[in-house]
Amino acid sequence: MEAQENKPHRKPHSGPSAVKKKRKNIKQKTPKNQNKKAFAFKSSVRAARSLRHTLDIETKRHHIPVAEQTYNTAEVPPYIVAVVGPPKVGKSTLIRSLVKNYTRHNLRSVIGPITIVSGRKRRLTFIEVDNDMCCMIDVAKIADLCLLLIDASFGFEIETFEFINILQVHGFPQVMGVLTHLDLIPRTKTLRRAKKDLRHRFWTEIYQGAKVFYLSGILNGDLYPSMEVHNLSRFISVMRFHPTQWRLSHAFFLADRVEDLTPFEDMRLEPSIDRNIALYGYIRGTNLPDNSWVHIPGCGDYRIGEIKLLQDPCPLPGGEKKRRNLNEKQKLIYAPKCGIGQLSLDNDAIYVDLPSKNANLEPSNDLISAILRTNTGVDEKLADADGVMLFENSEQVCDIESEEKRESSIASDTGGEENRENSTGSDSENDLTTSESDSDSEISQEGSEKSEENNSEFQNASTQVIKDGYTKLISTPSWTKMYNEYLDHRLGRHSSLQELIYSKKDTILLRKQPHTDDLLGDLFIVNDNRKQLVHDSSYSRMTVNFDFNNESTYQELKNLFVTGRKRVKFRENSDDNREFRNGFIELDDDGNEIQKLDNFPENEFSESESENIEKEVVKKQQIKSDYFKDLQQQTNDQDLINKGEYEQFDILQSAKYIGYPPGSYIRISIDSIPYEFINNTKANSPIIVGSLTSQELETTRYTHARVKQHRWHKKVLKTRDPIIVSLGWRRFQTLPVYYTEEHNKRKRMLKYTPEHSHCHAVFNAPVTHPGTGLLALQVLTANAKTTFRIALTGVLLENSQTIEVVKKLKLTGTPYKIYKNTAFIKGMFNSALEVAKFERSIIQTVSGIRGIIKRNVSKPSGHFRASFEDKILMSDIVFLRVWHQVELPLFYNPVCNHVDRDWNAMKTVAEIRHENNTPIPVQKDSLYQKVERITPKFAPLKIPHKLEKDLPFKSKPKYVMKSKGLANLKKPAVILEPNEQKVMKMFQQLRTAHNDNLRKRKIESLRKSELNEKMKKKVELKRLQSVKKRRRDFYTKVGKKQARSKKKN
């Protein structure tokens, strides 16, 4: 029996399964526990390549280590979550849902920043971003996370794209897309399609795989479904945020609330008085020092008057680290503008927010109402009358005895003061030892009253000592003692050198005030000719004189040399740059340890510690020196030093040196801000306070930037058309000049920005750090005409005071006298001076003959002599190509939208023309005209007879007789033979017959083709008729069918 033959299995040779199998086979062939040495590289080239490859991968992972500069950090400040989107997309609903999710709190309205505790280590501040360009720009600069809300039923709107582009310029924070209104899309299939389309479009803008979240419709209590919001919140809670360079180098805060501190009376008298305000918020970015300059976008530059550290209104839960979730008490919310946290304590006030309808401001007491009704103050009343009527209809208060008593008591008080002054005056006399003068006594008067007695005692003592020191100067050798005494004296009243330096009381006196006693009559002031003590040398000798010949002095000094007393060990850390160890153990002559000469607290370390350090050193040397590791080590060490330096201080003390750390909740006061800021700021527009360095203040200089017109902006931009720039913290309007840098570094002006490539722009603006991104707009507010508002983006390159942007200028002239290669040219310049300026510069004719300007001609002025490489023609136009420096506009106009709600930007010329219906002015010169060229008539060439004789025959002109008679003579008449005549006649007849035949044939064919055409038309008509009929039949059939199916449904 034959075995059944099955079809054999065919292995796949291609396709994914084949690849998979192959890979599997390879894996199996190379066992894991193979002898690695046996499989070493055979090729050195390949080995090198693979090594290089691995190293490349390794180094790609490296980032420049940055030392942490925020020391004594209180807590991480709340991350700012900006909710952005076009109107009616569900921004407020999302914030309310998130707040509800985090805190179980139902917000009625969303105004201002809302801070919540979202986890053990994380707080969030939500802000809703209006669809206003200024708001969007400001928020883009500070947000850590942006939730871009997109109405899925409508699709993307232009604002979303605008915002993404703003983000890209100002250091892209984290972005998450949120699709809303998904319930409005009816079918699941279209929903899925819409989701996919929107997601992919979003990805092309952000990056492939950016997170997009979907929120279906609003559910119970007009909030989003709690499960979906909860999921969103979990995404937010695991997100990591990377601060940008700008934020790392600038402190800033988002103002939670703004209070007006101006006295009510002042405001009543002058409503438009400049206000003193207080702003509250968490410091973010880096440390904020006292008295630093800040910029409030939309308002201006101010100096912080005072920073007060406040209690954190929304602190992170401390303690109990085991629990990961928050209990109800720890779920805090702080939203002062939303009416949550209605009671707030300040250092000088308690603010209680009461809804106006609940507040009962009518006085309940008669007495209080009476006080309220009085119009004049008590002091005014006192001045007017003998007695005082405190209230209306009350008795006059007039008690003379008591008044006298009061006066006497005042007198005694002042007497006391005088006494005190006298006493302090005497003190100051005591301490005058060096060249001091009378205003020192003023200083001592200012001296703190608390420790007055101590002070005077101290001073007396010190002067005594000093005097003794001077008298002993010749005899006593111990100058270290003297020196210390001198230093003590120098400190004077101050407890420490630090205080001496920074309290500013004891400054060196430089000027004497003219004495008022020295007045001679009223006319002259006697000038005491004592010169001002001028101090402008970096060196000053100590006032203590040393006797260098003394033996004990020598002995003391010798210890400062290496040849001094023996030392056992000079302990030093491996790297003296890093850690200061100056420990000596001093030995006396017997070799016994006598003293540890370590007075620096950090130097006091035990023997074991030192051993450890030595071990570390050895260890370190063992590790191969690696540039990156060294760098990392250095940064880490610097980090430790940074942290350790101010460790012993609390925040308030260390704030003097480094400012308030990020995360602390502060109140800053700012003086004299325009009153419109209080009245006109929109409730929902974020107020940002960003710190500036002294260089970044509002002194404008020329700013160069590399820019590119945005590809979505419809028009190219014109030089000197105003643009609104957002750069650093600032937003301002300015007039740019665009230019391109040529190969020889010449900056040539461009009238318009190139369409698809970068160019440079220079404009007048405050100084900002080079490398900062910028964007520009032509209009702030969108109207029906505007599409995409962002006109250009770029990066700042340089700040400078002057800049040479040039444009090409061609000066033309015409020759009026030509000798060989020399020509005299007119019409190019107006004066000899102008010619002098351009001597030796290169000129050219239109035909390309180059030349040089030699000298001006004395008369007529402006004409000059030039020489060319060849003789030019009188008809040639000569031109000089020069580069003319373009004047740069100095316009700078900050966008003050917080001060002026309807801030108007400067208009472009085109806009003004459009509004006024003025046509574009046309210069007649610039119009193109038809060029009529006259063909030149040249004179005949004449060759002199002498020359002609010598010419070779080839070049000699050939004279040909052209007269008619001669030509006829050359062609004689031909007379045919009779036979030939016959033949000719025969041919003539035949040709005529043939021509007639051809004519007849042509007529016949034409007739036939006409007939044919007629037939064709007939057939076509018939065909069309039948087609029409067929169609009609078909459509009636279909119509009937549809009608039937409709009926069925």
Partner: protein
Amino acid sequence: MTTGISLNSKKLEYTGPSFFRQRLVLSTLSTLPIIISDIRYGEEEPGIREYEAGVIWLLEKIMSGAAIEINETGTRIVYKPGILIGGPIEHVCNLDKSIGYYLEVLLMVAPFCKEPIKARFKGVTNCCDDPSVDYLKHTSLKLLDRAGISPGLDIKIISRGAKPLGGGEVLFTCPVIQKLKPLHWLDPGLVKKVRGIACTMRVAPTNANRMIDECRGVFNRFLPDVFIVSDHAKGKESGKSPGYGMCLVAETTSGTLLAANTFTSVGEGIHPDRPEDIGKNCSHLLLEEIFRGGCVDTRNQSLVLLLMAMASDGVSRVIMGYLTDYTIEFLRHLKDFFGVMFKVETKPDSTGGMHRQLVYLSCSGMGYWSIGRPTF
């Protein structure tokens, strides 16, 4: 004397002629305008001196866009700094002050320019009041070098010149820096060697030997490693006036440099010190400097403080000796102009039983960037 800062006004106001150079330098670096008024007001010769005006012109040469107003009597100056450019400049110094007086200004400003500075100074190279050029070359430049401002940093003495006629010429070159690292100079160390230069111009070269002998007499008692060279300037290199003097530098085990300089001019109407006195005086000044201690010598205190304040990446720490009034005022000015406040602690030091006081200064650097520096 100082009015200091008023809120919201973007300028600083000072009175009096003192600390003139500091104020100009800090104003230039911070770009904050200053007004200095009442300069020698009510004196027989009111107003700024010519050498002070020279400082302003020097600064103007390396800046673009500076606006300076000086009133008729010179008692009031309004100084609005521009952008530091640098580049090659030439400055003829006033003969009342030495080149060192101007170089001290330029040393503070030069690393923060847009282009490397190449400054040619003409005038007095050595004098007794201001630091001599040798002094700056052997201390200040070494300090800058230690702080990381190194390649291309040099002072080249082309010819020497003494008061009253000068005639010296000096070429100063300085690179520009991107970023300053924090300084940690905390170990003053012990003096291990003494070096020096004794210069003579238009006098007998034996004067140098006499000065050197005197110094050796003083320092050989302390340590054997004393090496002083004599520099006799001849012909063109010797300037227009005769004089002699010396500069001594003590180097410690940790690389700290402490220096002293003295000089005397010779000529009609001048009673010059004997070379022996000059040598002795200089040695004593150096001993005083060694006694004062610290990682920075007295004249360079403010320069180092500036570098500390300008550094980026955090805290710098330095130990110094006795702080001069000039330095103290500089600290105050740093606070006015940059808001940088130093932590100052006096630390009693008892190396070898001296019981002297050293000063520990630390600050968090502001990460200065000069506005003229471009990027690409």
